[in-house]
Symmetry: C2
Subunit: 372 residues, 2 copies
């Protein structure tokens, strides 16, 4: 496994490697299997014991097996301390969630993902039950080859995950557009956004989905509107930059749609329809014709690391530094949080790294969605 | 036609409306048709006379007709002064190029674009000859409906143009990937990028396309690599922001790939593969393992308005303010430049607004590509 040390931790505190002693203490607390004098965790120890996932009695064994496979890189059903420690290192690299997702899909541990592996994980997800993603479409052939015999490596897989998530939106639209008219109802639009594109929604946007759909006249949403809506929410960092460019960095200056459009054309490929949707959403939320920076903030989806860092800050704030086991507590929380997110993602929205955290945060009290 | 006045022109000088007298002077210079005491421009007057496009004797009449249709909104084959003036207003709105492209495709002048109109314009383009874009694919059905009977309005069309351009890349990849392996050769990759994605390429990137393709090992390009490469070049504004976020605004601080990845995960959906390509491209150009702001600038495609504004600044710099007809000259140049770009776009890359300008700039001396 590639190991990377981060020389300059960013703002908010990037996870640092734990000491071997502390890790061993955690490991031994949960390892129930002893073989030739060495302790191992079983899949159950790791997923249900250590992570506290799938707590119910009627848990899904396939889910436990898939989640334990992320850390069990030798694929022998036993998690050694070396594997546990290697995984802790993985969680500290900047692309931890993409790497974690990769190991989840790399069932055979070969360092490449085959179409069969992709299918096996995907069909275990709730996303697939909701959407029944077509496994014989052109999209998958482009990545896995016409005969779907090509395995893909880590960096290609990261791009595949990203593009797959976009494709899921298109497939969901087609599923709801039964007569092929090119339109779906406002309620179906809300359904897709809440269930498949949830990671893009702030509370303000979620509350206004049906009203936003009415922006086209009539409560129907066309495919270009659907595309523009998702593209807008995916590009909110760029939208902020366009706003700040138009106001020379001032965050409280109100700007009109034309001023925004002009700034957008200067530096990006944001379409006029995306700008229409931006102003319509801001108007629905704040009843103003012009927008300021905080209006944009209200509809910009939070990103993964920001949440992770906020969460770590929270944990630090409530624990006294003198408290015994403080570091262990932080460590365990990080593990649970990050890995739990994978579980949540597999359950709720399959594979998209950004989803990993959000879903887990929402489901912290109700347990993972993966085991049903 | 919608008319918008821009209250706060941005930096670089946004086009202002011309006076009626100046416009009339220009109009009468080229109008060859007189009817009931009123002067009109023919399609030929406007496209070949005023714009100076299609100068060769064996010009394509269909091209002249399509280009004149942008301004001839009454579709009677005659361009009145009112139409000429309305068009000057159109060129001053912030989304001028999207609106110009819309009028090019709106052959019937109904304010909606039908599938038939889209096909008629597209099949006149060089892009289509190169790519023979499939007219019966799923992509077009999503926008025009299953039976392709649905007409689309201006804002939907703006999104369609954007998405169509992405789809052209995918179709070109599939065309070159004859055996459906999921790979194309480095030379085919270069061919697609230069001929279809030219607006994304700086000289530095164009010179390194084949070498960049070698980044995957072997001179083949996989589909995810192709997607990531194009996505990266489309998102360079975001890349700049990620860099500045990592350096706290310092533009000369060198950062490593891990530092960049960390900053990227904090605020965006940039994939690890896109970051790999970014660092590989910067290394090819500057032979360094770390990057600074100017490395990013070297591969960031210039945007439309920046070019337009630079061009206007150039014209101002070479003309003495006292010179008679200075304003007219600027005005004519703006017209020629903007409209000429449409012609260039129709010729070289069909319909993408950003292409409009670049293509025209390259073909200024060799004449338009539209008429063959």
């Amino acid at each position: 496994m590639r190991r990377t040390t981060v020389s300059a931790p960013g703002p908010g505190g990037y996870p640092k490697r734990a000491s071997t002693e502390k890790l061993q203490e955690i490991f031994l607390k949960h390892a129930s299997i002893h073989k030739n004098g060495e302790a191992f965790m079983s899949s159950n120890d790791f997923v249900r014991g250590f992570l506290g996932l799938l707590p119910h009695e009627d848990y899904n064994e396939q889910s436990v097996r898939l989640l334990a496979g992320i850390i069990d890189t030798s694929k022998d059903g036993l998690i050694s301390f070396a594997e546990f420690q290697a995984f802790e290192g993985l969680l500290c690299v900047p692309d931890a969630l993409y790497r974690t997702a990769f190991q989840l899909f790399d069932i055979s541990g070969k360092g490449m993902i085959s179409f069969k592996e992709f299918c096996e994980v995907l069909t275990s997800t709730e996303l697939n039950e909701r959407l029944s993603f077509g496994m014989d479409n052109q999209f998958l052939k482009l990545y896995f080859g016409k005969e779907k015999t090509r395995a893909i490596n880590y960096s290609e897989f990261s791009q595949f995950l990203h593009d797959f998530h976009e494709e899921c939106g298109t497939q969901a639209f087609q599923k709801f557009d039964k007569d092929g008219s090119g339109f779906i109802t406002a309620l179906d639009f809300q359904d897709i956004m809440v269930n498949i594109k949830n990671h893009l929604l702030t509370k303000e946007v979620q509350d206004n989905l049906v009203a936003a759909a009415g922006g086209q006249g009539g409560h129907r949403v066309s495919f270009p509107y659907f595309m523009a809506f998702n593209s807008l929410l995916s590009n909110m960092e760029l939208i902020k930059r366009i706003y700040l460019n138009a106001t020379n960095g001032n965050r409280t200056q109100e700007i009109t749609k034309d001023e925004f459009l002009y700034s957008a054309q200067m530096m990006s490929q944001i379409t006029p329809l995306e700008v229409d949707i931006l102003f319509h959403l801001c108007h629905l939320i704040h009843q103003r014709g012009r927008i300021i920076y905080s209006d944009i903030q209200a509809i910009a989806p939070e990103q993964y690391h920001k949440r992770l860092n906020n969460r770590l800050a929270e944990i630090r704030a409530v624990s006294s530094p003198e408290e015994r086991g403080f570091l262990i507590q932080v460590l365990e929380s990080t593990y649970r949080f990050t890995l739990g997110s994978v579980a949540g993602a597999v359950g709720a929205t399959a594979v998209y790294p950004i989803d990993l955290v959000k879903t887990r945060m929402q489901n912290q009290r109700t347990g993972s969605l993966l085991g049903k």
